[in-house]
């Protein structure tokens, strides 16, 4: 199967009045990610299922990915947590996109490719906001292969 791991696009900064879960994408972040989605289309990305975290910035990012989706969308609080078997159980399909947050997205990539559960405090995979990784293989820890990791700037260039 093919697994697309997506970090949410840039969101407004947290404030005392604005809870973390309610942080929306910035207009610029939304616009840039919409362009990045066109770049993903150039890579022939398409999904049977988009699973996204319930936090607003992830829901908005998933919404922007919806034009590439041929199947359904599902909210999963597991994506706002450390990667787990529960998360893998949700990935029913041949091409699934997971939209989540750092540090969990880079940990998920490491966990599925190398079987490590933790990469230390900094992480070994650079995942900018709006970046996308593509993994292929059997959906088990350490059994997937990293086929691509595109930072948002690269995806926007692909869209041109």
């Amino acid at each position: 199967m093919r697994l697309w791991i997506v970090r949410h696009a840039p969101a407004v900064d947290p404030t005392a009045e604005l809870p973390d879960a309610a942080r929306a994408l910035t207009p610029k972040g939304r616009e840039r990610f919409a362009t990045a989605v066109r770049g993903l289309r150039r890579l022939n990305a398409s999904f049977d299922l988009i699973v996204h975290s319930p936090l607003l910035r992830a829901v908005q990012t998933a919404e922007l990915l919806a034009p590439l989706n041929k199947g359904t969308m599902q909210v999963a609080p597991e994506l706002a947590l450390e990667p787990s078997e529960d998360l893998l159980a949700l990935c029913a399909g041949q091409s699934v996109a997971l939209v989540g947050h750092e540090p969990h997205v880079s940990t998920t990539v490491a966990w599925l490719t190398c079987g490590w559960e933790s990469l230390g405090p900094t992480g070994a995979v650079l995942f900018k906001k709006g970046a996308v990784a593509c993994l292929e293989g059997e959906l088990r820890p350490g059994r997937m292969q990293l086929r691509g990791l595109w930072q948002p700037g690269v995806l926007r260039k692909l869209a041109r």
Partner: protein, 190 residues
């Protein structure tokens, strides 16, 4: 959702399904695709118990109780638990950039209603259109949709009891009200 989790009465299950449908129509009017599958899942999950209530009424309480427990377990799942907050946050934000606008969404809903000849589907699609019209304050046209939806509903319920002597009459009434409402739907579809 909390009421269904604590009690699971037929009225509460109906209220949960209605609230999920209203939220889904609100998301559709606002142009959101996210969370609509989750609301559909919630409606279908509660639908099994609702179907039981419609077909069995107060009979076989032990079997109903098993269905209530099944529904309560689903409502305790992580997916169901995070849904109300996620929905509230999304409904407070601006529409997505691909949004057609309320009139465009209304047109889609009306076209979808005109695109079927199956009475059950027509009823489902008209119900969504009615809710959308209600939300946009177009209550007069919503009333016309309500009449068709109610009459088709009554006919559908009578279908469960084929010995019903009024089945033909109920169907004719539903057809008459649809003939009255169809021009309104066509107006929104064009």
């Amino acid at each position: 959702m909390r009421d269904v989790v604590s009690c699971g009465s037929a009225g509460e299950v109906h209220a949960l399904r209605s609230a999920a449908l209203r939220a889904s129509v609100a998301l559709e009017l606002l142009g959101w695709r996210a969370l609509r599958n989750d609301l559909r899942w919630l409606r279908r999950t509660a639908g099994r118990l609702r179907d039981w209530d419609v077909s069995h009424g107060a009979a076989a309480p032990a079997q109903r109780s098993a269905l209530v427990h099944e529904l309560q377990a689903q409502l305790h799942s992580a997916r169901a638990q995070c849904l109300p907050d996620a929905l509230a946050r999304v409904l407070q934000t601006r529409a997505p950039s691909h949004h057609l606008g309320p009139q465009g969404q209304l047109q889609c809903l009306a076209r979808r209603a005109l695109g079927t000849h199956d009475p059950h589907r027509l009823r489902q699609r008209l119900r969504r259109l009615r809710l959308a019209l209600d939300m946009l304050g177009l209550t007069h046209d919503a009333g016309a949709m309500r009449e068709v939806v109610d009459r088709l509903g009554r006919w559908h319920d009578e279908l469960q009891a084929p010995q019903s002597s009024t089945l033909d009459r109920t169907y004719k009434k539903a057809r008459r009200s649809w003939r009255r409402a169809a021009p309104i739907v066509r107006r929104y579809a064009s």
